[in-house]
């Protein structure tokens, strides 16, 4: 096999492995205020990776950040609810606002196909070296999630 032919056969493999990994990492999430000012309402938006047209549906969960930190990353104890299940598009407007001292976290997961439970990942960089996320979010969220699909 010539070098050129070998390159041609290997590069698509490299890109297909890239595509599968980015799908597992999940979409990018943003929180946007509806205009600056005291007591501003916050919207949750996310951007699916355009390189992954396979994204078909998204799940969003909410949790208590103070409980997550106190529990050393225990997502079962920290999770407080499911905000969206199998929604097809961003955004989720007017998020619930925390009381003074309260802190909410939000996680979004992409699923390659709607209603295929567990097809996407709640993780960001778990298992992708070098990783700054030492705890796998998946098992805790699966155990504590109130969405029909864990």
């Amino acid at each position: 096999m010539s070098l050129r032919a070998l390159r041609a056969s290997l590069l698509p493999l490299a890109f297909s492995s890239l595509a599968s990994l980015t799908l597992a990492e999940g979409p990018r999430l943003q929180i946007q205020e509806q205009g600056l000012g005291p007591g501003g309402v916050q919207d949750l938006l996310w951007t699916a990776d355009p390189e992954n047209p396979g994204y078909a549906a998204f799940d969003v969960v909410r949790g208590d950040l103070n409980a997550l930190r106190a529990g050393s990353g225990d997502f079962v104890a920290a999770l407080t609810g499911c905000l969206a299940e199998d929604v097809t598009a961003s955004p989720l407007p007017a998020l619930p606002l925390p009381a003074p001292g309260q802190k909410f976290f939000f996680l979004v997961r992409a699923q390659a196909t709607a209603d295929v439970c567990g097809a996407g990942s709640w993780n960001e960089a778990f298992g992708v070296a070098p990783s700054s996320q030492p705890v796998d979010r998946g098992p805790g969220i699966a155990a504590g999630n109130t969405c029909p699909c864990p």
Binding site: L3, Q32, E33, R69, P98, Q102, F106, P134, V135
Partner: protein
Amino acid sequence: MVHTRTALALAVILAALLCGVRALLASNMGFVVNCPLPALGPGSLTGSNTLNFPYQRDAQLVHAGDVLTDLGIANVSGVMKFLEPVDALTVYTGRKGGGPSFPLQSGEGYFIRMLRPVDYVIGGSSDPAVVLQLDAPGPASRSGTNLVALPYHATARTASELMEGIGFANVASVQGFVTETDGLRVYTGRKGSPPDFALDPCAAYFIKMNTTVNYVPSHY
């Protein structure tokens, strides 16, 4: 054979590089927090507080002036940025003669002085690509003191855990601002150190370095 190995290595490196870039850019966790900012009164000596913004802030929060707008300018007397090379604060008041505004930077903490108390609701998301450059004494830092904003979901919950995460020998102390007294709570982890203290995601912390470290905080 050599060509085959070279091509294979190139393909693997390319794939690894591209995967690495994607992993660093993506973040699927966001936050909405409510940080009480007391004004002068029983809970605060002068209305001074430290403030920590998420690494991916609201797109409208770009400069110090935007913080004043977000909080309501009548509620705030100024936003302050710590200047490491001179160990001093620069102040933006938004009033006549109040100095130039400055850009907000991910990973940088700020002081804010309140005229009226505000329960500040802040939204944003994480950015695992942010690397905190913690400078030891030298051209970039007069005393090795850095005013740092940690990710809201950092695994470090106390000053001692933060020191361990950075590397104990590299850090001289972690210092937290005490609103009630305008003093600093200091933890060194060495003999005679004051007690360890909890870290609040709403607050920024001074980290005094012995050695310069590029620190990527571990997070949940």
